[in-house]
């Protein structure tokens, strides 16, 4: 029997290695898997590369993991926000590497990893600093940049409903990077609001099909 439900967040995080590339869902706080990120501090993995749209805010979630010294590099589109104090401090001290990627390219590179696309040409960033060192090519009279897949060892995402096969739905704009990150990692762990019986999620409503998800855990833990 397929059962991807985990009884606790701690168990759901088992096996994440030092040096992993971790795709972290969320746009600001919407869709951010805050309990998973905070439990990762106790889990102990370090020297992590984080792929996430933002670099955390306040001292919770991603910022807490950063403050605990576990993140060596962040790949994101927009590191600064009103509350990105911890990131700015560590960046200023040279304690964290930063790779800035345009938001659409960030998402498309993860999609490529998930969809078995070896690389793609995008007009985004052509002729700018962010294309420096990248191969370019004119297609239909427009300059394009070659971008390569961005794969995760792990994806940590937040969803709304799940079932034991791993099907997921999302809530409103908290969907954001979740569906793409779920495709793009070797191990996809989803923190969800509720776990329902198989068949309760309409097959028309599934946003992330079961095949992309490895572990689901209810916020708070119990299934």
């Amino acid at each position: 029997m397929i059962d991807k439900r985990f009884a606790s967040i701690e168990k759901a995080l088992a096996g994440i290695q030092d040096g992993s590339v971790i795709l972290v869902g969320g746009f600001g706080n919407a869709g951010s898997p805050i309990p998973l990120l905070e439990a990762l501090i106790d889990q102990g993995a370090t020297d992590l590369t984080i792929v996430s749209n933002n670099a955390g805010e306040g001292d919770f979630g991603l910022a807490a993991l950063m403050k605990a010294g576990r993140i060596s590099k962040i790949i994101c589109s927009y590191p600064r926000s009103s509350g990105s104090v911890i990131f700015e401090e560590l960046y200023g001290q040279g304690k964290i590497d930063l790779e800035v990627v345009p938001q659409g390219t960030l998402s498309e590179r993860m999609r490529a990893a998930g969809a078995g696309i070896g690389g793609f040409y995008t007009p985004t960033s052509a002729g700018t600093l962010l294309a420096k060192g990248k191969e370019t090519r004119e297609i239909e009279g427009k300059l394009h940049v070659l971008e390569l897949p961005l794969k995760g060892d792990v994806a940590l995402i937040k969803a709304d409903l799940a079932d034991r096969w791993g099907n997921l739905t999302y809530n409103k704009s908290a969907r954001n990077f979740g569906p793409t990150m779920a495709m793009a990692a070797d191990l996809t762990i989803a923190q969800v609001r509720q776990i329902v019986d198989l068949g309760e999620i309409s097959p028309e409503l599934v946003v992330t099909p079961s095949i992309f998800v490895d572990r689901v855990v209810k916020e708070g833990g119990q299934t």
Partner: protein, 224 residues
């Protein structure tokens, strides 16, 4: 009399140029003001790059939902007919040329429509680009909303940008507190400018050659 526009007045002026039925992305910050002045009787669908089409107004106090935010991470609402989708699908819309218009802020704009709005030369702070580069290459028309000059009085419209580019040859139209300027194949054409100044005054505040459009008129906006 027609004096320097307020930010709200620039927003109002831009809103007049957004047709009924348009799909529009309003950049974070100043461009968000445009939503307040969309003309009555026009149905305009607002896209937010974090996965919304049909974005509605700010929710009433107490009705905010942390899962329903805009690209500026502020609580919003969704209109009937709206939809939610992933970032990947959202940027397929952006990059794929499906947006009629996006409105972006600017640090600098060149005479050929190059846009610089994400980083300066003096980056004490880590740079962030967000979705600006995707919007700059993807929307059918890129409108820039900006003050004509910096706070210290330097022109923002230049022969060439000195700051890192967001996109090359991206901008179609520039709306400032002084003028409405088209970026054309033959340079910058001023469609409208305020009554308080002459064309020569405007040229003096602009570091790239301007020409008046054949049908140029006074930039007139209501009190707001």
């Amino acid at each position: 009399m027609s004096s320097k526009l307020t930010r709200s007045q620039i927003a109002w002026r831009i809103a007049q140029d957004i047709d009924d039925g348009s799909f529009v992305n309003l950049g974070i910050g100043m461009p968000e003001l445009v939503a307040n002045y969309l003309p009555d009787g026009r149905e305009i669908i607002i896209h937010s790059e974090n996965g919304l089409l049909g974005m509605g107004p700010v929710p009433e106090d107490g009705q905010e939902d942390g899962d329903l935010i805009n690209a500026g991470k502020k609580p919003v609402t969704l209109l009937d007919g709206g939809s939610y989708f992933s970032h990947t699908d959202s940027f397929a819309m952006v990059r794929g040329g499906h947006l009629d218009i996006c409105v972006l802020g600017a640090f600098q704009i060149s005479q050929t429509g190059d846009l610089a709005n994400w980083a300066t030369l003096n980056n004490t702070n880590p740079p962030g680009v967000g979705g600006a580069m995707d919007l700059a290459v993807g929307a059918r028309q890129v409108f820039v909303m900006t003050e004509h000059c910096t706070k210290s009085g330097e022109p923002k419209i230049l022969e060439q940008c000195t700051y890192p580019l967001t996109g090359a040859n991206s901008v179609s139209r520039i709306y400032t507190d002084l003028a409405v300027i088209d970026v054309t194949g033959s340079g910058l054409e001023v469609c409208e400018w305020i009554g308080d100044m002459t064309f020569d005054d405007l040229q003096a505040m602009t570091a790239a050659p301007l020409s008046p459009a054949s049908d140029a008129k006074q930039l007139t906006v209501p009190e707001l």
